[in-house]
Symmetry: C2
Subunit: 274 residues, 2 copies
C-alpha cells in the first residue's frame, strides 16, 4: 500500500538543523500495529508518527519510537501538525488527539506551538547519584517531571562541563529505570536568560542523545515554574550542538499552561510502501 509521508525538520534553524520526524498519513484502514512498529524501527528516527481521521479532533495521532509506542511526544506533535497542515488544511489552530489527550497546536507561518495538556511533578533526585552518572555540579534540587515521558531535570553550573559530558552508560540506564525515568534533561542558564540544554534517553538499554526535544523542554519549563524561576516573557532553548544540529526551542507559559514552539520544514516527502 503506497501511503503519503513527510519527514519534517522540527525546531529547525536552517535545513537539517532540527530533529526529524517521519509522519505517515493513513488513508483507509489502520495497518496492524506490528507494521507501524516495524517501520519506526527500520527508519531509525527518534519518532515516527501515523495520522488518521478523528471524530473529536483534526486528526488522531499515534507515535512510535524504534522500540515502542508513546502516549505523547513534543517534536512529533509539532512535525505531525505541520504535515497535517501541508497535506490537508491551511488551519492555523489545529486540534490533535493522541493517547495523552487533546493537544492544541497554533501555526503562524512555519512556527508551530503546542500547549502541554498537563504535567506531573515527581520525585526528588539525589544529586550525588546524578553526579556519579554525569560528572557535573548541579544547582538547586534535581527533580522528576512527567510531560508525556517521565523526565529527570537538572540545572548545571558549568556550560563547558555540560557540553563535554557523554551520554551515559549501561549503569546510567539502570539508575534511570530505578526512578522509572526515560531520560534526563541537563540545562545551563545563560546570562541573557536563554538556556543551553542536552537531552539523553535510553532506548533498547542504550543511552542516546536527542537532537531536540519538545517534552524534555516542557519538563524543564515545569521545573522553572515550580522553582519560581520561569522568566515572565518565556525563553529560548538551544539544543543539538553535540549532535551537529543547531535547534531552537521557544518555551512560554499561557494561562498557566506550558507552550513549546519551533519552526518546521519538510525535508523529504513522497510515498511509503506500508
Amino acid at each position: 500500500m503506497k501511503t503519503p509521508y513527510k519527514i519534517v525538520d522540527v525546531f529547525e534553524n536552517g535545513a537539517c538543523t532540527g530533529n526529524p520526524v517521519c509522519v505517515v498519513k493513513i488513508e483507509g484502514a489502520m495497518p496492524e500495529d506490528k507494521k507501524l512498529q516495524a517501520l519506526a524501527n527500520w527508519i531509525n528516527l527518534s519518532e515516527t508518527t501515523f495520522i488518521s481521521d478523528s471524530e473529536v479532533a483534526d486528526y488522531h495521532l499515534r507515535i512510535f519510537t524504534p522500540d515502542n509506542e508513546l502516549p505523547f511526544a513534543g517534536h512529533p506533535t509539532l512535525g505531525s501538525a505541520w504535515a497535517f497542515a501541508e497535506l490537508d488544511s491551511n488551519k492555523t489552530l489545529i486540534k490533535q488527539k493522541c493517547a495523552y489527550g487533546e493537544v492544541l497546536i497554533e501555526r503562524k507561518g512555519n512556527m508551530l506551538t503546542f500547549t502541554l495538556p498537563h504535567y506531573i511533578k515527581g520525585e526528588h533526585i539525589d544529586s550525588e547519584e546524578l553526579c556519579a552518572q554525569y560528572p557535573l555540579a548541579v544547582c538547586h534540587s534535581p527533580q522528576i517531571y512527567t510531560t508525556g515521558p517521565v523526565w529527570m531535570v537538572a540545572q548545571v553550573v558549568d556550560k563547558s562541563a555540560l557540553m563535554s559530558v557523554s551520554v551515559g552508560s549501561e549503569e546510567t540506564v539502570k539508575w534511570m529505570k530505578r526512578y522509572n525515568a526515560e531520560g534526563i534533561n541537563l540545562f545551563y542558564v545563560e546570562d541573557d536568560g536563554s538556556i543551553t540544554i542536552r537531552t539523553f534517553f535510553h532506548a533498547n538499554d542504550l543511552m542516546v542523545e536527542d537532537p531536540a526535544c519538545g517534552s524534555g523542554n516542557a519538563a524543564v519549563g515545569a521545573y522553572l515554574i515550580e522553582n519560581k524561576r520561569f522568566p515572565p516573557m518565556g525563553y529560548i532553548a538551544y539544543q543539538g550542538k553535540a549532535r551537529s544540529r543547531d535547534a531552537v526551542v521557544k518555551v512560554s507559559v499561557k494561562n498557566g499552561a506550558i507552550q513549546i514552539g519551533g519552526k518546521c520544514r519538510t525535508i523529504m516527502e513522497g510515498f511509503v510502501d506500508l
Copy 2:
C-alpha cells in the same frame, strides 16, 4: 533544490527487515560536502549515498555516515545500485565508481550481488583482550580484515552467548581505535554451514549495532577463505535479530573474489529538499 531519492531496504526478507540506505540522485551540480554531510547526519541512517553521473562507470557514488564519508560500504552499494536501476536503467550488470575503486554489481530481479574489488589481511587480535570487551569464547585466531572499513573478525563458540552480548562500551571504542578498527563482526557457524552474525561499530565514540552489513560479511568471508574454511558453494548469513530485523546475506566466491548478495526493496521514495 528538490532532488529524487529512495530509501531502500537491503538484505531484506520481508518489508523493513533489512538495513535501510537513503539514496539521493544528484541532477546537475554536486552540492557542497557540508550539505551532504548534514543530510546524512540528520536522517540518522547508518549510510546515506549520493549518485551522480560518471564518465567511467554507470554512476559515481559517495557514501556518508552520520559523521563522515566512507570510501566503500556494502549495503549502500547494493541499495544504490538498486535505486540506480529503478530510476535510470534496466541494466543487469551495473558498474559503480566510488573512492575504493570500481565495483561490479549483478542484478537478477530484486537480488543484487556486488564483487569486492580487494581486501587486506591485517593484525592478529589478542583473544583475551577481545574477551575483556565481549565475554565470549572464540575459536581460532581473531583477525583484522580491511574490506573498505577496517573490521575485526572473530568466530564464537556459543550462539546464545553471541545473541545476549551487548554492543560494547566506551572502553571498547578505545580498544578498537588501538587497532585502527571501525568495528567488529562476531559470528557463529551453524551445523548446516549458515552463519549467525552481529556487527558492532563505533560512531561518534559510541558503540552501535548494524542491522545488516555488507563489508562486515565480506570481512568474515575473507577470514574463512584465509583459514581454508570457506564452504565451496558459499553460505547464507543471518543478521539483525537483536535489532528487530531479519536480514539475509548471501556470501560466495567467484574467481577468487568475494561476492555479497542481498534482496533490495524500495520502501520510501519521493523528493528531498537539498
